[in-house]
């Protein structure tokens, strides 16, 4: 910790004695602000919004977690805050001044680390200082102290590819911290690490933050991991489904260091979970169009596996429990949950995922039987209906993949449409509703249903 104090002295004080460390309570100064922020990308039928009307203020002394499912625009929001991509409308300002380029008061930690493999750890850490034109001697000294602070001493002259994932991300942290940004921006910094490593790194980071030696005044953390958000943040901002807008904000009143056994902790996780999965309202799953309930990226085998697992557990279980048991991220399980619900094979009752009658039959059937049931269920999915209608309009003929993607893309981006079409193709082929010729990229209606002679 002495190293950290010296680092602070070196970078901040320049001769004046270092201030006594205390947790960054903050004076509440607004460091970063997004006002009416929207961002859209070009789609086949005009602009498609990714973010719509985001209002966000990041104050000194707080950790803000931006939580959302994949595709909710949370990484886009972070890049807008960093001044790396221009918003379509609205403004981002740093200390009251609107950004015109890269944000001078932030530094980024990347999900993929983004280390330069041709530079040593020390050279990587020095990059930001080198960019500021700081002399080599002061650079070396500052980097040495940042490396010590983050627990990388001994690795200075190693190349990134010699390090484990956890050590690499430490380099990422040291590189960002050494420039003493007002706001540290973290883009899913732990999601490329294994569970234990991530846990350890989170813990160390929190300790540093609480000790007051952290050389930044605020943190924005983008994540899809609910527990991570509850563990680390003072405030959790949940982005709704596309186009992302702030759906709900949770203040986290829990004392640091946080006790995971406390009832408040579990209760908050539960509340955030229900908000994120859209199961707070009484409306249930309103299936109206491809944008509201997009086809999840869920393979047929995984869906069948989940159904069988539920059947073995008496027909129902809480997804969070399932995820923990399977060693899966909740985010990895949610597409499967969505898939079963979309197909009408399961439904959510209270917090439990429960198999429907059709779902129970699906789980118990043999190969051809479950194909028949799946075919029956999949016909009712709106996107599939759209595709089948399209195919029926060309009896005996073929329909180009581009045409179908175009139809799906009316309400989402081209990239999403392509992903949805991929899932639809997988499901449709399994259900033997249509055939797809990947060489010619055309779809053709299958004459016979599954299991027909």
């Amino acid at each position: 910790m002495n190293a950290a104090r010296r680092l602070l002295g070196l970078l901040r004080g320049r001769g004046t004695p270092p201030p006594p460390p205390e947790p960054p309570s903050g004076d509440g100064e607004v460091l970063l602000a997004a006002h009416g922020l929207t961002k859209s990308y070009a789609g086949s039928e005009g602009e498609l919004p990714v973010l719509a009307g985001v209002e966000l203020r990041v104050r000194a002394g707080e950790i803000v977690a931006v939580l959302g499912r994949s595709g909710s625009g949370k990484s886009t929001l972070l890049r807008c805050l960093a001044g790396l991509i221009p918003p379509s409308s609205g403004t981002v300002s740093y200390r009251g001044r609107p950004l015109t380029g890269a944000n001078p008061g932030t530094a980024m930690v990347f999900q993929t680390f983004a280390l330069l493999p041709w530079l040593t750890v020390r050279q990587n850490v020095e990059l930001g200082l080198e960019a500021q034109g700081i002399s080599a001697r002061r650079r070396t000294e500052a980097a040495r102290q940042a490396i010590e602070l983050i627990g990388l001493d001994g690795f200075e002259s190693a190349y990134p590819k010699e390090l484990s994932g956890g050590m690499r991300q430490r380099v990422g942290f040291a590189r960002a911290l050494v420039v003493e940004p007002d706001v540290l921006l973290m883009d899913e910094p732990f999601s490329a690490l294994d569970v234990l490593t991530a846990e350890n790194l989170r813990g160390e980071l929190l300790e540093l933050w609480e000790s007051g030696l952290f050389p930044t005044r605020a943190v924005v953390l983008v994540t899809h991991n609910i527990e991570e958000a509850v563990l680390m943040a003072d405030r959790i901002v949940v982005l709704g489904p596309r186009p992302g807008a702030i759906h709900t904000t949770f203040e986290v009143p829990l004392e640091r260091p946080r006790d995971r056994q406390s009832p408040g902790y579990a209760e908050l996780i539960d509340r955030v979970y229900r908000t994120m999965t859209g199961r707070t309202g009484a409306t249930g799953t309103g299936r109206t169009g491809p944008a509201e309930a997009p086809l999840p990226e869920a393979g047929v085998d995984a869906l069948a596996g989940l159904a069988e697992l539920l059947a073995r557990r008496g027909g129902g279980c809480e997804p969070a429990v399932l995820a923990e048991e399977l060693g899966l991220d909740l985010d990895g399980l949610l597409p499967l949950v969505d898939g079963l619900e979309l197909l009408g094979l399961a439904e959510t009752v209270e917090t439990e995922l429960v198999l429907t009658e059709l779902g129970t039959a699906f789980a118990g059937a043999d190969v051809q039987g479950s194909k028949r049931i799946f075919a029956e269920a999949v016909r009712e999915v709106p996107q599939m209906r759209l595709i089948l209608d399209s195919l029926r309009q060309h009896p005996g003929g073929t329909v180009r993949a581009g045409h179908l993607a175009g139809q799906l893309a009316r309400q989402c981006t081209g990239e999403q449409a392509a992903r949805q079409l991929e899932t639809a193709t997988d499901w449709g082929r399994y259900a033997e509703l249509f055939a797809y010729d990947a060489d010619r990229r055309v779809y053709r209606l299958e004459e016979r249903g599954p299991g027909d002679p």
Partner: protein, 575 residues
């Protein structure tokens, strides 16, 4: 080891036909200063009686040194050109629309066509001095290297991982730092491999460019190529043998002492976070590392690097303004289009006037017809090389032991300038009475075949062992195995080799369709001979027509055959 960095890269995007046509026209037009300068000079590069009076073998070490220096001068020029050109194309949306189609055309022009133009220009710039010839020779080698390297670096700039771009901008890198710390290292491996392959091809043009006759007087630069030229003119087989030996030592030596260590060193620029499973090794590099000598350049260049990065700050910060002024942007586009369009129009009318003076579009009829003959030869070269070398290559590629032995040898053979062996072959033709119409095909294949073999080996190596074991297990053998596993498996690599081989064969046709040995000259009808003769007579109109038609054939063959095969291979058979 893979050959892929050297492949002629298909244009990434947006290179529409009209853009290429426009670029081709623009390039033809750029020849006009050369036309004006070169009225009255004539050039030929078939070796005649040489000014090289001393053909004693003791002359060879000095000649070899001069040749090597020429090669490295060209390599340096190509590297600088590639970095600047590719950076400009990747950075500026407007320049990209011009530069990339132009590069695509440049790549298709036979290099010996450039040589003629270069000689006329340079000798006019430095009249009566060897410096002009020296420049022309370096320029010819440059044209054989630069386009490929530029394409490679441009592709690597486009393929820069988005997080590295974000890193550079969010940490406020200077533009120089972005180039020096991020973009150049990221593209370094491709650049080195492309450089090595292009350098290997460059020897061919070195040999072709050293002994040239200009305006009726024979001029030669001291070098291995001109030494061989003189020996050929005297019909001295022994001296030719010495020259071939020197060349072999040169090619091997440069490869061993320069390229192997460089490729092994470049490994550190791999943008993968994991340790590579297969690493390139070099004894020389390890020796340098062990003795600490490899740190010397770093220590010597360190202050230079620091000074550069300080000086580089004048280029400003790597930042993109968030707000774009659409009006200004549109005005800029309009201005750019008007200026380039105007230049093109001016140039085209100039070209039209020139063509009119020289007898109109009729000048193209003869080369077009002759081109069909040469096209036939090129296709035969590719077909025969395929039939012969693909089975051999597959055999080698499937055996790790054979691969270790054969791959460096094949690589050397591909680098060895085939035109060096022409005299021996011609001596054989004269002895056996084989007409050059047939023998020319052999001459063209002499260099081109190795690309097919080399890439087939690489392709066969890339087929996973478990696939082969699965086929063994299922009893898939013989023709069925070729149809189901081997041909689809090697196709992507084979196509790469095929493109390079057919390009090489077109180039070789210019020196293979007219050859002489000891005062006897053999000629085979074809576009290559047409260009060679036009060069010798200094008939610029016919020369340009010939080169343009050959470029047209190369482009057409690439588009109609190779690129389609390439797309098929990428889509269906990528492993």
């Amino acid at each position: 080891m893979s050959f892929s960095p050297a492949r002629p890269q298909p244009v990434a995007h947006g290179a529409r036909l009209w853009a290429e046509v426009a670029a081709a026209a623009a390039l033809l037009v750029l020849l006009q200063p050369a036309l004006h300068l070169g009225q009255g000079t004539t050039v030929r590069f078939t070796a005649g009686p040489s000014v090289h009076t001393d053909t004693s073998p003791w002359q060879l070490p000095y000649d070899a040194l001069r040749s090597t220096l020429r090669m490295f001068a060209a390599l340096a020029a190509s590297t600088v050109f590639s970095l600047c050109y590719a950076r400009a194309a990747a950075r500026s949306r407007r320049l990209e629309r011009i530069l990339i189609p132009a590069l695509d055309i440049l790549q298709s022009v036979p290099v010996l066509g450039f040589l003629t133009v270069a000689v006329t220009c340079c000798t006019a710039l430095f009249p009566g001095s060897a410096l002009g010839l020296e420049c022309a020779s370096v320029f010819a080698i440059f044209t054989s290297q630069a386009w490929n390297m530029t394409f490679g670096f441009y592709q690597s700039l486009l393929a820069l991982p988005p997080e590295l771009d974000e890193l550079s901008r969010s940490f406020g890198f200077s533009r120089w730092m972005r180039f020096w710390r991020v973009e150049l290292p990221h593209g370094a491996i491709g650049l080195v491999w492309n450089g090595m392959m292009s350098f290997g091809g460059g020897w061919f043009f070195l040999v072709a460019s050293e002994a040239i006759s200009v305006g009726g007087t024979e001029r030669a630069l001291p070098g291995v190529g001109s030494y061989a030229g003189a020996a050929v003119a005297h019909g001295d087989l022994g001296r030719i043998g010495w020259a071939i030996l020197t060349m072999a030592v040169l090619v091997t030596g440069v490869n061993f002492l320069f390229w192997r260590p460089l490729t092994a060193w470049a490994e550190k620029f791999k943008y993968e976070q994991a340790e590579a499973s297969q690493v390139h090794r070099s004894w020389v590099l390890e020796l340098l590392r062990r003795t600490g000598l490899s740190r010397l350049p770093g220590r010597a260049l360190g202050p230079l690097g620091r000074a550069l990065s300080r000086a580089g700050r004048v280029f400003g910060r790597d930042d993109r303004p968030l707000a774009v002024d659409h009006g200004r942007r549109r005005a800029g586009d309009l201005l750019f289009t008007l200026v380039t369009g105007g230049l093109l129009l001016w140039a085209l009318t100039g070209l039209g006037r020139f063509a009119g003076r020289q007898g109109g579009p009729g000048v193209f009829t003869e080369p077009l017809l002759l081109g069909l003959v040469t096209l036939g030869r090129v296709l035969l070269v590719v077909a025969v090389s395929t039939v012969v070398w693909v089975p051999v290559g597959v055999r080698i590629g499937f055996s790790p032991r054979l691969t270790r032995i054969a791959q460096p040898l094949v690589q050397l053979a591909a680098s060895f300038p085939a035109n060096f062996l022409f005299p021996l072959a011609v001596w054989l033709f004269l002895r056996t009475g084989l007409p050059l119409g047939v023998g020319g095909i052999l001459l063209m294949a002499l260099g081109a075949q190795w690309y097919i073999l080399f890439n087939t080996i690489a392709g066969a190596m890339a087929i996973p062992t478990d696939l082969r074991q699965a086929m063994d297990d299922l009893g898939v053998r013989g023709l069925l195995r070729w149809r189901r596993l081997i041909v689809p498996g090697i196709l992507p690599a084979y196509v790469t080799g095929g493109i390079t081989a057919s390009g090489g064969a077109w180039n070789a046709s210019i020196v293979a369709e007219v050859v002489s040995f000891g005062g006897t000259t053999l000629t085979a009808g074809g576009l290559g001979a047409y260009i060679a003769e036009a060069t010798e007579r200094g008939d610029l109109a016919r020369l340009i027509a010939g080169v343009a038609v050959m470029s047209l054939y190369v482009v057409a063959l690439n588009r109609l055959l190779w690129r389609r095969l390439y797309r098929l291979a990428e889509r269906r058979y990528a492993l």
